[in-house]
């Protein structure tokens, strides 16, 4: 099977005062296209940093990320932005909807960026799918947390991404709403064949994926495949 994401010997550090703080060290793994994958670990283990590097939101000190066959280190910021627009979807813990846009506008932005005509119609379809058609003209501040995360889900899938990164997607939701959102996430993944990469410290959620990568102190502890559920 083709690897949609291939990470090799990734290293990332920050400078704090005169000290170098290594956040990720020698991380290597690969994800097959269409697979579900979770990155777990305690707070400060480097999970979010790894997600940022894999999605091309940040640059590594050394090592390489091959995303959809493209080496991210060869791209400049705008090229990485275009790659994200075409191939990647995002879900964040705190939803990250643009507060000044309505739910519908938030969902249609990635399609509009591709210059697609009928972005609104597609966005509306997705809002229907997540059960928010009647809230399409509401601003994020007028929606509950669960509703905001569903809008974020619709936005993440609207450009039919090959890979979707989710950073603690249920972190800000109650159990019931969280479960609904997770269900929706996996349903959409199945339906569209999108690769799913979830960063979480919720082991129950991680166990729903096919692979679990464990991090601790910036180092990779394990990369295990789970029997399919």
């Amino acid at each position: 099977m083709t690897k949609i994401l291939n990470v090799s010997h990734l290293r990332k550090s920050y400078t704090s005062g005169n000290k170098e703080l290594v956040v990720l060290d020698d991380i290597s793994f690969g994800i097959d296209e269409g697979a579900t994958f979770s990155i777990v670990g305690p707070s400060g283990s480097g999970k979010t940093t790894l997600l940022g590097l894999c999605a091309g939101l940040d640059k590594a000190d050394s090592g390489e990320v091959l995303l959809c066959g493209v080496a991210l280190s060869n791209l400049n910021e705008d090229e990485r932005a275009q790659l994200r627009n075409r191939e990647i979807g995002f879900i964040f813990q705190d939803f990250q909807l643009i507060p000044t846009l309505t739910a519908l506008e938030n969902v249609s932005v990635p399609l509009e960026l591709q210059g697609e005509k009928g972005a609104s119609a597609t966005a509306m379809e997705l809002l229907k799918k997540v059960g928010l058609a009647d809230r399409s003209h509401h601003y994020p501040s007028q929606l509950s947390g669960g509703e905001q995360q569903r809008v974020a889900l619709a936005r993440a899938f609207c450009n039919r991404p090959r890979i979707l990164f989710a950073d603690e997607p249920t972190g800000n939701l109650d159990e019931e709403t969280g479960n609904k959102v997770v269900q929706l996430l996996f349903d959409l993944n199945k339906e569209a064949g999108t690769t799913l990469v979830i960063v979480t410290h919720d082991l129950e959620l991680a166990r729903k994926t096919q692979h679990i990568l464990r991090l601790k102190g910036g180092k990779m502890l394990s990369n295990e495949s789970l029997p399919s559920t």
Partner: protein, 850 residues
């Protein structure tokens, strides 16, 4: 990957759509940014449009302003040669002689210094004498009556048919003179005009030695006459005869220049308002963009390029600038209609207002360019924000690299300089203006920084909770301390400077203190009238303080070269007025208080050997290009006198006393035909009026200057000027208030969050209000206080270096402006805070989030 693909597909329409979507939710704030520049643009457009109207009106009305196509003037009765030229030009159509003299109004038992205009023939050829009744302008010459300045008539409660005595002649008043070519409102307030038929001038007995006469011969030119060519041809010949040719084009140019300078000054005041607005924009956009960075990071995460996300907000700001420019330009056009009323005291004619497109377009362009330029620095934050910010909160807004910073700041400076240059048309003035603005802004900004540093470093931990919280607010992240101090400070600086400058000008014009200074100057006293005049002064218990002899003379030769030869020498740089001026010279053996010896030796008395040693004022020596030891030959009423420059004096012309360009030693001019100036000091207005009445009734040829009245006049004129300047400063103040409201509103969300937190923790509404009140009180006092102090410092420097005088500053800035502006800041701040207090915390938070 196709790099350009996305940009092309999404294009400018998507950027505009996103700008609109985002702006829709932030419309209130964007409107405030816009309002900050509207007033500045309004003022600039109004002034520029009005200046253009003025120029157009001046050139259209230049003939009626002069009353003729051209005139020949001379300060003496024209020589035969001049009369020959007048004849050769077909003879003048009208003529006048004018001079200052006392007029007595028997009905009011009053006397007043007036400008008598004796008119003959068809004057004015263009325009009209506006009188009440209307036909008085035509009838006065036939009836032999006088037209008296309408304001003077009102002042003395005179009516048509009352009499006015000028010199030896008494005239019936034929009408009130409302306006006449050649008289402006300002000159009329010094010496109001009285028009009489020329044929009676001789009979007034005022055409005698010592009178400063001006003869004007008015001409109507054929349509095909080239006035410039005529001027070039005739003027050199007239110059040699102490006469001059002036065409209506010269009047137009002169007037144009005069109002241009005033217009430029007003433009600068308006421009300061605009700059203040732009500083407000920069600061508000800074906070605005900081709050938008998260959205930009999300957009970048979704695949927006740096350019796209930057353009969204650039488009938003440019659109606000455009709308602000359009509203400002329209407001400017409305304001333009008011200018004839605002400036009516300074205009010699009625100005017809019309739309002028270049200033309107310039206003719109200014709106766009200035708002974009000043917002560029915070806008760049959108370019440099990383998409990673969606995962991690960055404490500080991304800082653009130093070269960008330098480039943008230089562009702003260059723009301000170029715009000032286009207004002032002199790079030195423009540079000084930019530097002045920079220094003022930098000092105020520095003071704000120092203040924040000071409270942080020496934080009064022992103070009560509210006082401490209010101080903390001043240096918390995203504080508005610097913006508010700048806005309040610059506004206060402007108003206070206006007051202080007025104080300086008044101090400069003030009489020398003490009872020993004269306040009444009696001019044109003939030698045989001296005893009679002193005989009227002394019995009233008043002392004759000076009896200054004056001899009139002209320059015949400079350094051995006849003036006629110098006139023809096109390479000569000697100032023309030296060659044709009739100098009024005195002789004495000592320097007076307004004089300082700069070079050479002061000669008290002429010993009869060699050329006569004289003393020149520095400015005359400069203009005549002579120095110590240079020879000057004077023509003293037909007698040539050879002199040598023995000393050069600095003369303080601003002092209210008789100053002289040229002083002879004693022992030379005693026997020359001369007249005298006698000074005295009257205790009060009543004794001054009585003395003037007695003097004029006994000696009608005398002119009397009452310095008290002159000071009142100067104050009056300064009041009129300061009303205009105050009017313009009002725009800065109003802009300052808008910037203030903008700054307060922009930081509202942050304040709400803090208030909500404090309320959640148990703080009472009164405590939160007290915290806000104290914070705005500090800002108000600091901004206005330093604005006033800075203005006092600037005014002191101006007084010391430019006006060379000391002055007592008005208390108005301290007792009215400072508390007034502080109260305003407090009011605006508290209004904002009460809105926060009156809403439930959760509702406030939800409402404010977009």
């Amino acid at each position: 990957m196709n790099k350009e693909g996305l940009t092309k597909k999404t294009g400018i329409l998507w950027v505009a759509l996103m700008a609109y979507r985002d702006g829709r939710a932030s419309s209130r704030r964007l409107i405030l940014f816009m309002a900050a520049i509207v007033l500045g643009i309004m003022a600039v457009v109004a002034i520029q449009s009005f200046s253009a109207n003025l120029k157009e009106n001046i050139s259209l009305q230049s003939k009626s302003l002069m009353g003729a196509d051209f005139l020949i003037d001379s300060n003496q009765f024209p020589t035969d040669r001049v009369l020959g030229i007048i004849d050769s030009l077909g003879g003048s159509d009208g003529m006048e002689v004018n001079f200052a003299s006392m007029a007595a109004f028997p009905k009011a038992d009053a006397t007043k210094l007036v400008r008598v205009r004796g008119i003959a023939g068809d004057f004015p050829i263009y325009g009209a004498l506006e009188t009440e009744p209307l036909d008085a302008a035509i009838n006065y010459s036939r009836e032999g009556s006088a037209l008296v300045d309408a304001t003077a008539m009102l002042q003395y409660n005179l009516r048509v048919g009352d009499s006015v005595k000028i010199g030896e002649m008494t005239f019936a008043i034929g009408g009130a003179l409302k306006s006449a070519p050649g008289s402006t409102a300002i000159s009329s307030s010094v010496a109001p005009p009285v028009i009489i038929p020329y044929e009676y001038v001789e009979q007034t007995g005022l055409l005698q030695m010592g009178s400063r006469l001006e003869y004007n011969y008015y001409f109507k030119a054929d349509e095909d006459t080239d006035l410039l060519a005529l001027d070039e041809k005739v003027d050199p010949i007239l110059d040699a005869e102490n006469a001059d040719l002036d065409s209506h084009l010269d009047t137009s140019r002169r007037l144009g220049r005069r109002y241009d300078n005033f217009g430029k000054f007003l433009n600068l005041v308006a421009f300061i308002a605009l700059l203040l607005g732009c500083v407000g924009i920069a600061s508000s956009v800074n906070i605005y963009i900081r709050e938008k960075l998260k959205s930009v990071a999300i957009l970048k995460c979704m695949g927006a390029t740096r350019k796209q996300s930057f353009y969204i907000f650039l488009f938003q700001i440019a659109a606000m600038g455009f709308i602000g420019g359009v509203i400002g330009a329209l407001g400017g056009v409305l304001l333009q209609q008011l200018f004839p009323y605002i400036l009516q005291d300074f205009l010699p004619f009625e100005v017809t207002i019309s739309w002028v497109w270049p200033p309107i377009l310039q206003g719109i362009l200014l709106g766009i360019s200035m708002s974009v330029l000043f917002a560029l620095l915070p806008l760049l934050g959108t370019w440099f924000v990383s998409p990673l910010q969606v995962l991690r909160i960055q404490e500080h807004a991304p800082k653009p690299p130093r070269p960008f910073l330098i480039l943008i700041l230089s562009s702003i400076m260059l723009f301000v300089f170029l715009f000032s240059l286009s207004l002032l048309e002199n790079w030195r003035y423009a540079l000084s203006f930019v530097l002045g603005i920079m220094v003022t802004f930098a000092i105020l900004s520095g003071i704000a920084g120092l203040f924040m540093w000071g409270i942080k470093k020496y934080f009064p931990s022992s103070w009560g909770f509210c006082a401490r919280q209010s101080l903390l607010s001043l240096f918390r992240p995203q504080n508005q301390t610097r913006t508010l101090i700048l806005a309040v400070g610059v506004g206060t600086f402007l108003i206070s400077t206006l007051y202080f400058t007025k104080d300086i000008l008044l101090a400069k014009a003030q009489l020398e203190p003490g009872a020993n200074s004269p306040n009444i100057i009696v001019l044109d006293v003939q030698s045989d009238q001296q005893e009679g005049v002193t005989g009227l002064i002394e019995p009233k218990g008043l002392a004759v303080m000076d009896n200054i002899p004056i001899v009139t003379m002209r320059v015949q030769e400079l350094k051995g070269r006849p003036v006629n030869e110098i006139r023809l020498d096109t390479t000569s740089t000697i100032n023309g007025w030296i060659l044709s001026h009739e100098f009024r010279v005195t002789y004495r053996d000592s320097l007076i208080a307004s004089e300082t010896l700069l070079e050479g030796d002061w000669v008290t008395e002429y010993n009869g050997n060699g050329p006569i040693p004289i003393s020149l004022a520095y400015n005359v020596a400069q203009d005549a290009e002579v120095g110590l030891g240079d020879a000057i030959t004077f023509n003293v009423q037909g007698v040539l006198m050879e002199t040598v420059v023995k000393s050069i004096r600095e003369v303080d012309w601003g002092r209210m006393q008789l100053n002289f360009s040229i002083v002879f030693p004693k022992g030379v001019l005693e026997q020359a035909p001369k007249f005298h100036v006698i000074t005295t000091s009257a205790k009060d207005e009543a004794s001054s009026a009585e003395l003037q009445r007695d003097l004029v009734s006994s000696f009608p040829n005398l002119s009397i200057i009452d310095l008290r009245q002159v000071i009142n006049l100067i104050e009056d004129i300064l009041d009129k000027i300061s009303w205009v300047i105050n009017f313009m400063a009002f725009f800065s103040i109003l802009t300052g208030i808008i910037v203030l409201i903008g700054a307060v509103r922009t930081s509202k969300y942050q304040r709400i969050r803090e208030s909500v937190l404090l309320r959640t923790l148990g703080a009472k509404g009164r405590q939160i209000l007290k915290i806000a009140a104290l914070e705005y009180l500090y800002l108000g006092i600091l901004g206005s206080g330093f604005g006033i102090l800075l203005s006092l410092l600037g005014s002191e420097l101006l007084a010391y270096f430019v006006f060379e005088t000391g002055f007592t500053p008005s208390v108005i800035p301290f007792v009215v402006v400072l508390p007034g502006i502080t109260a305003l800041v407090l009011g605006i701040g508290l209004l904002n805070s009460t809105a926060v207090l009156n809403s439930p915390p959760l509702q406030v938070l939800r409402k404010e989030k977009p």
